[in-house]
């Protein structure tokens, strides 16, 4: 079993997102792990985060404003891997920074840094040759997104060539806004799990332990991002402790969801 598989084998997983280079990233990542996060998503900042709401947009711009480069993101990832040999780490971002030196270069850097998977917002299955073959060739999981607009006809294409887990974006919209109704999440997760052989994690708009627990009753994973990123925005250098606290509450809710 690889790191992503074992993270999802222990019951519902908490997946946490923060933007790399925004605030004291190494300490924040350590706080996520200490708080009980099962999978870490590290956001690669981009000048034009088209799928993100205000919280993550500003995190991207703060990070770039502080001078974060792609090399720095891979340094953060390598150092994380050295400190946490067993915790899966996934890079999330937009196509251009990932392909700009060629997809093979990017895939090789992921391998060197111990990155387990990649989520690319703006490369749908139709443009898979841009990044997919390089990642699969290097043994890095390509984690694709499914959304409320992904119908039964499209789902096989989305699943084909993807691995690690399927990220279900529960609202048609940008990150950080409202959460979808629980009933619609349950319906969608049931539908996706009927076709998917990989775990299904649900994200977008999940902020509180209560919401996370509800989703964890049906999904294999719950993704929380904007709520953590907002703590970094508000507390900067002092964010790690607060990030750790929220993560602990979320992790307890997710891990205990099915025994409650």
């Amino acid at each position: 079993m690889n790191r992503l598989q074992s993270a999802f084998s222990r019951g519902p997983a908490l997946v946490t997102f923060v933007t790399g280079g925004d605030g004291p990233t190494a300490e924040i990542l350590d706080a996520l792990v200490a708080g009980g996060a099962d999978v870490i998503e590290l956001g690669m900042p981009f000048t034009d985060p088209m799928a993100d709401g205000p919280a993550i947009q500003q995190a991207n711009l703060r990070s770039l404003g502080a001078g974060t480069t792609t090399a720095e993101i891979f340094r953060i990832a390598s150092a994380f891997r050295a400190r946490h040999p067993d915790v899966p780490l996934v890079l999330m971002g937009y196509a251009n920074p990932m392909i700009t030196r060629g997809p093979e270069w990017f895939a090789a850097e992921c391998v060197k840094a111990g990155v387990d998977g990649v989520i690319c917002v703006d490369i749908p299955p139709e443009e898979d040759p841009e990044l997919g073959p390089a990642l699969r060739g290097a043994g890095v999981a390509l984690i694709r997104l499914a959304t409320p607009t992904t119908d039964a006809a499209r789902l096989p294409a989305v699943l084909d060539g993807s691995s690690g887990f399927l990220y279900y974006v529960s609202v048609a919209g940008i990150t950080g806004l409202q959460q979808a109704a629980q009933a619609s999440i349950e319906e969608a997760v049931a539908r996706l799990k009927a076709s998917a052989t990989i775990p299904v994690a649900v994200g977008f708009g999940v902020r509180t332990p209560e919401q996370a627990a509800e989703i964890a009753k049906v999904a294999d994973g719950v993704v929380v991002g904007s709520a953590l990123v907002e703590l970094v925005a508000q507390h900067g250098e002092n964010a790690p402790a607060l990030v750790g606290e929220l993560t602990r509450a979320l992790a307890d809710a997710v891990h205990g969801a099915r025994s409650a």
Binding site: T70, I99, T100, E127, T147, P148, T150, D151
Partner: protein, 405 residues
């Protein structure tokens, strides 16, 4: 000129996946993908539907005022002392630019698809005004995203959009110009896919936008080609057009692409100079992915997009439509760039010699013609796309010339 060996036409792009060679494509979030596919299917049906074409043609004739005149510019020609300069007068269109051609086509598609709300991005405000206009004409609500910087420098167009009933949302992210307006429009679209149609203003974005915008704008080149043949009995030697995203240029060029004796020149904005801040993505960029397509982009080594600069709010976009990226790489079209200062000179030159106040965008094309016409023979013909009028720009020009209004 170099051409790809297996190429027998330059007019059969894109391929079925929306690619122009290595450019174009559909690099969008999964949420948008089904909608982009639906748009492609609907556009394919519309193209085959004579009723769609008839309604488009009728609106262009009676609402927009087409065909636009083809005009020989005698005093400009004499002043430059070389090739004859002719203008395709798309600045005489309703709303003052070529943008309306595309908006008519797209709103007819939106209505076919049953969409009830329209969004658009705008830089100079010309596309915003054209979109607000067709929305008023068809009674659909309209939201226009515009960078806050552009809201300030294009105040007359902001007021026009409001008069036409559109809501103008000022976007403050980034440098608050066209690129940021497009990001915000895409965010709105992702959240409102069920009822919203996004009218993109240039020949860029995910497939099928570059193709359908080109097709709607090709009325410019089709008319010009027929007008040239009937007026002078031959085709022009050189076509010249300014390039922001590339819609007026591809609209003029496309119908001539398979005429081997017609040369073409696209003019990018060199801003303060190519070694300083500019918006010339072919001259100063390299291929990358932004806003749904792969094309030449202004970017740093990490693929972070850099801000474009031009005196013209309609040209300061850090990318270019994918078909131009391809036409440049296969060598069919040449591209050059002119600075803010040269464009201001071109602007004044046309005012003085022909009594026509051009928009700052085609003023870039005029500046390029000022350099080239004198190097050509007097019996040669240059055809320039005069794609917009300058009313919107007089305040900005006054400021640059140090005149207080």
């Amino acid at each position: 000129m170099t051409t790809a060996p297996t190429q027998n036409s330059f007019r059969n792009q894109p391929d079925e996946r929306g690619h122009f060679g290595q450019f174009g494509g559909r690099y969008v979030a999964e949420t948008l993908m089904p909608l982009v596919l639906e748009l492609e299917a609907e556009y394919t049906r519309a193209k085959a539907d004579p009723a769609f074409q008839a309604e488009f043609d009728d609106l262009l004739e009676h609402y927009v005022g087409r065909p636009s005149p083809l005009y020989f510019a005698p005093r400009l020609t004499e002043e430059l002392g070389g090739a004859q300069v002719w203008f395709k007068r798309d600045e005489l269109n309703h709303t003052g630019a070529h943008k309306i051609n595309n908006c008519i086509g797209q709103i007819l598609l939106a209505i076919r698809m049953g969409k009830t709300r329209i969004i658009a991005e705008t830089g100079a405000g010309q596309h915003g005004v054209a979109t607000a206009t067709v929305c008023a004409r068809f009674g659909l609500p309209c939201v226009v995203f515009m960078g806050a910087t552009d809201v300030a420098r294009q105040a007359p167009n902001v007021f026009r959009m409001k008069l036409l009933g559109a809501e103008v949302r000022a976007v403050t992210a980034g440098a608050a110009t066209l690129k940021d307006a497009m990001n915000e429009a895409l965010r709105d679209w992702v959240a409102n896919v069920h009822d919203t149609f996004y009218i993109i203003g240039t020949a860029a974005g995910p497939h099928p936008y570059p193709e359908l915008v080109r097709d709607f704008q090709s009325v410019i080149g089709k008319e010009a080609r027929a007008q040239m043949l009937s007026r002078v009995g031959r085709l022009p030697d050189l076509l010249v057009a300014a390039i922001g995203g590339g819609s007026n240029a591809i609209g003029l060029f496309h119908p001539f692409l398979d005429d081997p004796d017609v040369k073409m020149l696209g003019v990018e904005a060199a801003g303060h100079g190519l070694d300083k801040e500019h918006a010339a993505s072919l001259a100063g960029g390299r291929p990358g992915v932004l806003h749904g397509n792969k094309t030449y982009l202004l970017q740093d080594a990490d693929g972070q997009i850099t801000e474009g600069h031009s005196i013209s709010a309609g040209l300061d976009y850090p990318g270019i439509g994918p078909e131009h990226a391809w036409l440049r790489d296969v060598g069919r079209v040449d591209y050059t760039s002119v600075t803010d200062t040269e464009a201001l000179d071109g602007f004044q030159l046309l005012c003085r010699t022909e009594g026509i106040i051009p928009a700052l965008e085609p003023a870039h094309a005029i500046a390029a013609v000022k350099k080239i016409a004198p190097t050509m023979d007097k019996d040669q013909i240059i055809l320039v796309n005069l794609c917009g009028r300058g009313d919107k720009d007089i305040f900005a020009v006054a400021e640059h010339l140090g005149v207080e209004l």
